[in-house]
Assembly symmetry: C2
Homo-oligomer: 343 residues x 2
């Protein structure tokens, strides 16, 4: 169904219709069925939940990277069981999400048995939001923390040149009476996708987000994208956390640091070739009590202190709406996606 909304024609589609179309697009552009399934669900979930900078907006970047030969859409991840609580995966120059999917059930087994376990993914491309990687663990009663580094675009605090990626940290924890508490925050002052969207829409950014190519502060997203760089959030503290992400997501996993890969021989490449770390904990081992009851108490107190919305709740509200009345996609975007799927 397509209808006019404001002066923009939109197509309203179901989540499953969107997944199916994206799956066909990935297949059409050379990924394996497994990779197409994982990436299409991931990307459609972001669109469904209103994570616009990681939804269908990303499709051209995925396809351009695949076409460039930079990332292997047919990669088969190699899972290695290293120790009682340690799994590592060589993503084989493929995407990180299929690598996580391949290790996920064994990771959960280890967490249930050992109380905590770690998954170190290397040789992987992460081009998506990070919250979809952690939320499912919280839905099984577990606590999950994930870090992923990306590509050099952030000037470390006190430095003169960019070195770090936007290096997000995502966290998920179960609640007794509600959807999990989930946050996914870039350690840059702003996510790179949001700079791209602002540039596309011709909007200026708030102060403190980035610098231009000469290192001067700027509010122009185009100046940031044109040889400029982002700043870390929260000054030296955000910068320290971004450094920790480099150390854990790349240094520890065996992946590349954000400054270590060179895609200049693959024009069109956009997916950072780095690493990802997940730490998953069985929180009920802590003191023999229900963690979910305790987190629910924290939520109650936060509401009492005047914080109306918990991290993740905006996405959940949008999700409910998308699943009941469908997802509105601008008609020209929908038609472009159909064309990419081969008509």
């Amino acid at each position: 169904m397509s209808e006019a909304r404001g002066d923009e024609q939109v197509q309203t589609v179901s989540y499953l219709q969107l997944v199916d179309l994206l799956r066909r697009i990935f297949l059409e552009h050379g990924t394996s069925p497994d990779v197409a399934r994982v990436l299409s669900e991931n990307c459609a979930s972001a669109q469904r939940d209103g994570s616009d900078s990681h939804g269908i907006f990303r499709i051209p970047g995925y396809l351009s990277s695949l076409a460039s030969g930079w990332v292997d859409g047919q990669a088969v991840p190699v899972v290695e069981d290293v120790a009682d609580a340690f799994i590592r995966v060589d993503a084989a120059n493929g995407f990180a999400q299929p690598a996580l999917a391949a290790a996920r059930s064994r990771l959960i087994e280890k967490v249930r048995k050992a109380g905590i376990a770690i998954l170190a993914i290397r040789n992987s491309h992460h081009f998506a939001a990070l919250w979809p990687d952690v939320e499912p663990f919280a839905r099984e009663g577990l606590v999950a923390l994930s870090l992923v580094n990306s590509m050099t675009c952030v000037v470390p605090h006190g430095a003169e040149k960019p070195l770090f990626g936007t290096n997000p940290i995502a966290f998920a924890a179960p609640r007794a009476d509600g959807d999990p508490i989930v946050f996914d925050l870039a350690t840059s002052a702003i996510a790179h996708g949001d700079v791209q969207i602002a540039a596309r829409e011709g909007r200026m950014l708030p102060a403190g987000m980035g610098v231009d190519r000469s290192g001067k502060p700027t509010e122009d997203p185009r100046a940031i994208l044109d040889g400029g760089a982002l700043l870390p959030f929260g000054g030296h503290k955000g910068s320290a956390l971004s450094m920790m992400v480099e150390l854990l997501a790349a240094g520890l996993t065996g992946g590349h640091f954000s400054f270590e890969f060179d895609w200049s021989r693959h024009p069109g490449a956009q997916t950072p070739w780095t690493g990802q770390l997940l730490i998953v904990i069985d929180p009920d081992r802590g003191a023999g009590q229900s963690f979910a009851q305790r987190s629910e108490e924290l939520v109650r107190q936060l509401h009492g202190a005047g914080q109306s919305r918990m991290p993740g709740e905006r996405r959940y509200a949008r999700r409910v709406q998308s699943l009941s009345v469908g997802i509105d996609i601008p008609l020209h975007d929908w038609q472009r996606l159909q064309a990419l799927a081969g008509g």
Copy 2:
């Protein structure tokens, strides 16, 4: 040796002299020899390394809390081996550092075998800097992350009333050719001890650190201490991290949230009665390569990008100075400490 420096008389003492004096003070005020040993080394280390807000400045708070009966200076921590990679400790209403010390060797054994392990301390008081808890792991080639919650004094982003503690996050990682990379950052915009020091010295604070008792922004440290509150660092992102600290350091361990304890019946009590989490990883399991070589490469690149100092380096420089020429203590402070030790 005492000498005049500027217009202030100082006493220059060795690290071991300071440890010994502090140990005698703790013993004189009713702690067990084990607790006195751990706390005196911790507090003297902070003074040695220039962490002024966690050095001898804290002694009156320790003694006042002990005298109030709020914290048990004779507590014997109970260590429970819960799973292959999970240890929990009931600190028995004592300090957190002796609880960590009691579990430390078993924790390292588990990390070496399982690749990662978690230590959940509950029923504990943490009144010290957090970096001394993680740095020693990095000196054994391990990566350590620790979180501790404290007492309500931070207004969550979007809320109207304080709920969180200053809730620091500390991280330590080994380097091949240098002292470990160590940071210890309050998730509040400023550490509570630094507000106390500014108030004592009559200095104003930078903007954005806190609010007064009516919730209005203030730069006056006394207005913050007099019924006001701190703000999180970095807006909603720092606030999300502070919430994560509550969930992991208290919710998961079985400790108290920062808002859950009531010391009103123990006048003089100052030590937050909460919990602490440590996650320790064997980083060389990640990809069969030397993590310390990789972190050294990151440091090289950070220097190349213009970041002259790594997190922790200011402390190390001060430590070297303190260990070679001694630690300068204002004479009146030194005399007061001697009096507290019973002369």
